[in-house]
Amino acid sequence: MISSAVLTILAAASLTNVFPQVAPKDRFSFGGSNMLAAQIQQAAPADVFASANTKLPEQLYEQGLVEKPVVFTRNELILIVPKKNPADIHSVYDLRKPGVKLVVGAVGVPVGDYTRVVLHNLGLDDVLNSVVSQETDVREVLAKVALGEADAGFVYTTDARTVRGKVATIGIRWSAQPIVEYAVAVVKSSHHLAASRAFVKSLLGRTAQAKLRAAGFLPVR
């Protein structure tokens, strides 16, 4: 019974490539975690919510909409530029060059919030003046840089790996990295509570963790 249930999993856009490998038979809706959280608040039919932060699932938990969230993986931020690097950016400090077209996630979108933390930690708050577009999820940032329309963008290291050959990456020093923890929670209105709990548990298991690590995600501390 339990194993035959096909779960509807709302998952952060950065999990687009890896989640179908972890749970090949389930259905996914990928997007900005904050959009997915808003959908759950509007009673979207869903079984599991996997967010690119802990804040959103905790909020839903406090509102009584999901069960207790569990951190299941981590990530880091990275700066990407198109392979041709039109703005000649080789370090995060080059973002200060005039006319750089920087694309970031919007405020409230996890990657957007993390990006602002990174820039603040690097003393680069003023770089936000170079932002030409605020995107609703990390994959939109990735697409606009990989396409060559934007000069640079902040994404997760795992996203950059999915477009190798189209972008070059510039690392961000460890001390400036925000804490990027992904939390997953069972949606209380789910009709497949047992199967959903089993999925959450399996995410912490060896098989799923190995697949996450192969995609570049970091183990939970």
Binding site: N34, M35, K101, V103, Q134
Partner: protein, 257 residues
């Protein structure tokens, strides 16, 4: 009797279905959200880009429609189909197409993406064909004997166009422009792909609704109400202008020929 009741019931269901989402937006509206900068910035961007786009649509679409309506040449139906094609294109396809054509790495290598001009281009691309199609039909409907009479009586081509053809086609042109205007105000997909979304620059009302849905549902509702109000107001204005100017111009046309 029963059949009549069924017709009325079906009509009521249709009306209620169309009206309910609009009513719901206003029922849950909190007016204080209208005063946030996201809302006012989006309103300004939307009005600026819509008016600029419609000016372009009228300036280029009217001559194009006139030429297509008055000339018969090989491949004409193909050209007309091409003009109409963006109407049936999904907006996302329009966005991809605009990027492929006008993107920095597109065919023409322009610097348009992420600028307000890019929003204008996107709006003109998706809304222009609605006007053009209607305008072609309007020009085709102009009685040729009227045009011939005007020319015989010594009016120049230009005078004939402005004093005879334009007034006679005015109603159709106005209706087409009303449709284009409404479609332009609501443009979303092509804009977010081609122009991006940045408050005060490229974030139009529909883009702000999409962003605020994730952030604050009540601001999204306020934006939605504003969009309903502005669109309805513009639609009514344009329709009223079209109908009143048509009758006035008709009178002028008949008296001057």
């Amino acid at each position: 009797m029963i059949r009549r009741a069924a017709v009325w019931a079906a009509a009521l269901v249709a009306l209620a279905f169309l009206a309910l989402p609009i009513v719901a937006i206003f029922a849950r509206l909190s007016l204080t959200r209208l005063s946030t900068s996201v809302v006012s910035d989006a309103l300004v961007v939307s009005l600026k880009t819509t008016f600029a786009a419609q000016a372009l649509v009228l300036a280029f679409g009217t001559p194009a429609a006139y030429v297509l309506a008055t000339h018969r040449f090989r491949g004409r139906s193909l050209v007309v189909t091409l003009v109409e094609l963006p109407i049936v294109l999904p907006p996302a396809v329009a966005g991809i197409g605009l990027l492929a054509a006008f993107g920095r790495v597109g065919l023409l290598h322009t610097r348009l993406p992420f600028t307000q001009a890019a929003v204008i281009v996107a709006v003109a691309f998706v809304s222009g064909p609605l006007y053009a199609r209607q305008a072609i039909a309007a020009f085709e409907g102009v009685d040729e004997t009227m045009v011939a009479a005007s020319r015989t009586l010594g009016a120049s081509r230009a005078k004939t166009f402005f004093r005879v053809v334009l007034p006679l086609a005015g109603g159709g042109l106005g209706a087409g422009e009303a449709l284009a205007f409404a479609r332009g105000m609501g443009e979303f997909g092509a804009t977010i792909m081609f122009a991006g979304s940045l408050q005060g620059v490229t974030q139009t009302l529909p883009l702000a609704v999409y962003q605020e849905f994730d952030v604050d549902f009540h601001t999204a509702l306020a934006l939605g109400a504003l969009l309903v109000g502005v669109s309805a107001g513009l639609l009514i204005t344009v329709k009223w202008l079209a109908s009143s100017s048509t009758s006035a111009l008709r009178f002028a046309a008949s008296s001057s020929v």
